[in-house]
Amino acid sequence: MQNGKTVVIGVIGADCHAVGNKIIEHALKEEGFNVVNIGVLSPQEDFINAAIETNADAILVSSLYGHGEIDCRGFREKCNEAGLKDIILYVGGNLVVGKQDWKEVEKRFLDMGFNRAYPPGTDIKLSIKDLKKDLGLEE
């Protein structure tokens, strides 16, 4: 039961945490998504190129090692350059180092052009619900 939507996922930057990435792939597939997993150690360009070739509807970026902010800068602008004007961008994992106020962190990522950002320990099932909503698959 494919739902007809394609999602690119991967772990951005010099980040090699591979476990969560596999879990996300599995969870999305169960919900009927066509998952294009570019894996760990992925630069922004690889996400964008993958989304172009596969005509993706959304990109889910993971960052676990604490350098998420630097790695994600300019992502939305590059998507716009590449013609991916309305693509949905989510980001999650352990986005920053140490205990910081989540509301502030979230705001910084939303200002960067991400549609949604998720704090550490988010249940991926909840994010998938959001995704379905944002893609018009669910109310």
Binding site: T6, A14, C16, N34, V36, I38, G39, V40, L41, S42, E45, D46, N49, A50, I52, E53, T54, N55, A56, Y65
Partner: protein, 462 residues
């Protein structure tokens, strides 16, 4: 005696190889200048006379005559894809593996200027790709429309997003183009699928290109011009590595062919990371991979070789050469028929061969980058890891006629000076002394077991 005649209509020489099929031996070889501008059979007949002289008294009956060709510019192709690093690269690799000379690689939606450029390059075949299966189809359809509108007389191979095929079929049928649709060169992201496109390119080569290049009359005498010469070399390499039904292969190998104009590298190897803890990134590599370096050559491309390498890098291999490196390269480019005579000339040519080998190998093999973390170093690999490949084989005029092919080929080995290039560390070095690789690729079409056995016998330690 029953024999097979194998013919290579090369860009300069028409080379003949006669194989005794009872004793599985090379009876004789001979060559003469290729005469594609007048009648291809003139040069062939001259070479044939020499061949018969070399065979001597024995009576031979050629039961099969098979040919490959790189005459009249070889098979010239343009590859079109969507993203440069993805489907455009996959299309380029498919065309290279089919034995083509790549005139240009284009990506994203073409504009009128690019269409004009493609037209003016006069390709023999255009390979059109773009999008994974189920992925983007706007781009390939846009490009198909432009091609249909502006380029009427070039055969097109379509190997892109399968969901676009119906529409493309309609566009090309309406425009009356000659085209063939085959499987996507990149059906899934980073997964490469080049064999179906290669086969279709080859069939169009046999069906249309041979005739277009004025070689049809050769087919009255021979059983067929089966493929472009580089495709025959790749075929020989593959069957030598993998073996045939009855004959075991020798395992993973690399072939280096240094020429006057280009340096070709073929690798038959999986190329997976050989060390633990290495993450593989990027577009998958073909198991049988060919790269062509148009700027690395001993004569026609001597100046571009100089530009790529620079004086110091060339002098690394000939520290005491009396020549000014740049001047000598210019001289060689202007005098392409020079054959080295003196010790200094030999030394300089050898150094050029070594630099060409070194750079061509660097461009062919994969690279590994280290990512530093407090946990230690982790590695990310792009391309093929060829560290443990068993054989490195030299072919082509420069290496075959060199006094010291092993020394030249060793310039292509792994070096601690640039440890991120995954070049072979300790392969056995062999030389195609009798210059039979392309002939064996042809022989393998009909007698694969025999082709493997003959190569094992004639391709020898340097």
């Amino acid at each position: 005696m029953d024999a097979i005649l194998l013919i290579d209509f090369g860009s300069t020489y028409t080379k003949l190889t006669a194989v005794d099929i009872e004793n599985e031996e090379i009876l004789a070889t001979a060559k003469d200048l290729t005469t594609v501008n007048t009648d291809i059979m003139i040069g062939f007949n001259k070479a044939y006379e020499k061949l018969m002289k070399n065979i001597g008294e024995r009576k031979v009956n050629f039961v099969k005559k098979l040919a490959c060709s790189s005459a009249a510019g070889g098979l010239k192709m343009v590859a079109i894809g969507l993203v440069p690093e993805l489907t455009a690269e996959a299309a380029k690799r498919a065309a290279l593996g089919a034995g083509a000379r790549i005139l240009g690689v284009y990506s994203y939606e073409l504009n009128k200027h690019e269409i004009e450029e493609i037209k003016s390059k006069k390709p023999d075949i255009i390979l059109l790709a773009g999008g994974t299966d189920g992925g983007n189809k706007d781009c390939i359809i846009h490009n198909a429309k432009l091609l249909a509108e502006h380029i009427k007389d070039v055969p097109i191979v379509v190997a892109g997003n399968k969901n676009a095929n119906d529409e493309i079929e309609e566009i090309f049928n309406n425009a009356g183009l000659f085209y063939k649709i085959t499987e996507n060169v990149m059906p899934k992201l980073n997964t490469i699928n080049v064999e179906p496109a290669r086969e279709v390119i080859r069939s169009i080569f046999m069906q249309k290109i041979v005739e277009a290049k004025g070689m049809k009359n050769a087919e009255n005498f021979i059983n067929g011009i089966l493929m472009p010469t580089p495709a025959a070399v790749l075929k020989a390499a593959k069957i030598l590595a993998d073996g045939s039904d009855k004959e075991e292969g020798i395992g993973e190998l690399i072939i280096v062919d240094i020429g006057g104009a280009t340096t070709d590298v073929h690798s038959i190897a999986k190329g997976d990371p050989s060390k633990p803890g290495v993450t593989l990134r990027g577009l998958q590599e073909p198991y049988a991979k060919r790269t062509v370096e148009g700027d690395l050559g001993m004569r026609v491309s001597a100046v571009s070789l100089f530009e790529a390498a620079g004086t110091r890098r060339i002098k690394k291999f000939a520290p005491n050469t009396p020549y000014d490196v740049e001047e000598r390269c210019k001289f060689l480019q202007q005098n392409v028929n020079i054959i080295p005579q003196t010790e200094e000339e030999y030394e300089f040519d050898e150094a050029l061969g070594m630099v060409a080998t070194e750079i061509a190998m660097e461009r062919h093999v994969g690279t590994v980058e280290s990512v530093y973390t407090p946990m230690g170093i982790i590695y990310s690999q792009v391309g093929k890891d060829l560290l443990n490949v068993k054989y490195l084989i030299g072919t082509g005029g420069v290496l075959v006629h060199s006094r010291n092919p092993e020394k030249i080929l060793k310039a292509g080995l792994f070096s601690m000076e640039s440890p991120n290039y995954l070049k072979p560390t300790n392969p056995v070095i062999l030389v195609d002394k009798t210059y039979i690789l392309s002939a064996m690729g042809l022989l393998a079409e009909e007698y694969p077991d025999m082709a493997v056995r003959i190569m094992k016998k004639y391709i020898v330690r340097a």
